[in-house]
Point group: C2
Chain length 240, copies 2
């Protein structure tokens, strides 16, 4: 049985956190909205009356009889099935706690270019975006990156993972976040990264995982672009 992933075509977005987990797991999945007629099927499930547990928004994942929404919740369900999370309660909750903190970080990265309304164009909230992005670069990026650096330093297992001695889904998500920040804020990241060597090392070892490396080189990996969560506007990166 193949998983069915439903997410907007053309962007990495929040769907990418799920894709990375499925790819690392070597799981069989269909990226439905990228197939012929798939976008319509996704919208039908979003609006449809026949869905027992309707999702609020993509991404959502069909796993057998389950239709699971919310990115972190999808990862919570995939973790134990694919050895992407500890199975003991303490480890399971810790992995999920980190994932939810990454989700908060990603939400704030999104809001740098859409601080007023997701329904408006960037150009219609550009001045507000300049102010929010400046605060994000100066205050929020160091706070979150410093937190994850501290978590990595605290982990006595010394393998460079966030949780214990093995890869778990938050490692994949933190990789994606660093990659996205490098795309969106190359100047800020070049300045900040020397302060967070463990976070950078995690980004690098995740990218080098065999299945992840193959995935990143494939056409299944949608390039970063100006429609996703991470967008590169030079002015939001401090260029004048």
């Amino acid at each position: 049985m193949a998983y069915e992933l439903y997410y907007w075509d053309g962007i990495q977005g929040r769907g990418e956190f799920v894709r990375l987990a499925l790819e690392e797991a070597g799981a069989d999945y269909v990226d439905v909205a990228r197939t012929a007629g798939g976008q319509g099927e996704m919208l039908r499930l979003l609006d449809g009356e026949e869905v027992e547990h309707p999702p609020f928004a993509p991404p959502f994942l069909r796993a057998g009889k389950l239709l699971i929404g919310q990115t972190a919740n999808i990862l919570l369900s995939l973790g134990p099935r694919h050895d992407l999370a500890p199975t003991d309660e303490a480890g399971r909750l810790w992995a999920h706690q980190l994932q939810l903190t990454i989700a908060d970080f990603v939400d704030e990265a999104h809001d740098t270019h859409h601080p007023i309304a997701s329904s408006l164009y960037y150009e219609d909230q550009r001045n507000e975006a300049l102010a929010r992005a400046a605060d994000f670069r100066r205050s929020r990026m160091p706070k979150y990156l410093g937190y994850f650096e501290r978590v990595l330093a605290h982990n006595n297992s010394r393998g460079g993972h966030l949780v214990g001695a093995r890869l778990s889904y938050p490692d994949l998500s933190l990789y994606q976040t660093v990659a996205g920040l490098r795309y969106a804020f190359p100047r800020a990241m070049a300045e900040l990264e020397p302060n967070y060597p463990r976070v950078v090392a995690l980004h690098n070892w995740v990218a080098a995982r065999p299945r992840i490396a193959i995935y990143l080189a494939s056409n299944r990996r949608i390039p970063f672009n100006q429609h996703g969560i991470f967008r590169h506007y030079p002015e939001l990166d401090g260029e004048v």
Copy 2:
């Protein structure tokens, strides 16, 4: 063994979602930062080197040996312990999915008064707040409230719960969200509520649960005020 809840004194904030679950469960807990010396203890745990799994921010909960952060994650852990969530996988994930969607709604409610930076005063981002709040009232509140109305209508158990035939932690959190929106946006809510009778009914039956009613009337319930997530600025509610 009493739980220890760590959250900022003086506001309901995100800690309130945890308090409501503990109160409904009749659980023994200490609201640490509201005790003498408790705020210092909370900050020590936030900064401290001796914590194995450091939280990013309050709220966090000590449950025996575990120190659990992230509101939705705390509820995920409390659910099965206190009969506040289904125990089967499908029900457990559905409850958590709804909780994460409520968390997104609450984040957006917060950002109406702080669209640029949490570190700045409201008065320093008032114009931006006016724009964001207008979009929230017109577009986001109906979208979220309509979603939860649809979830309630879809539930074949017909008991007025979000999940199955019994109370679960997202019911408590949706109650709190409606109560907060009524405080922050009384005009907008008065206009919107007739469209969402099931959501309003849920608010009412949760408030009438015996333990919740006692809690709400106690001094353990901090009143809504202008420092929390839900703040009443008449201009953000469409008053001119």
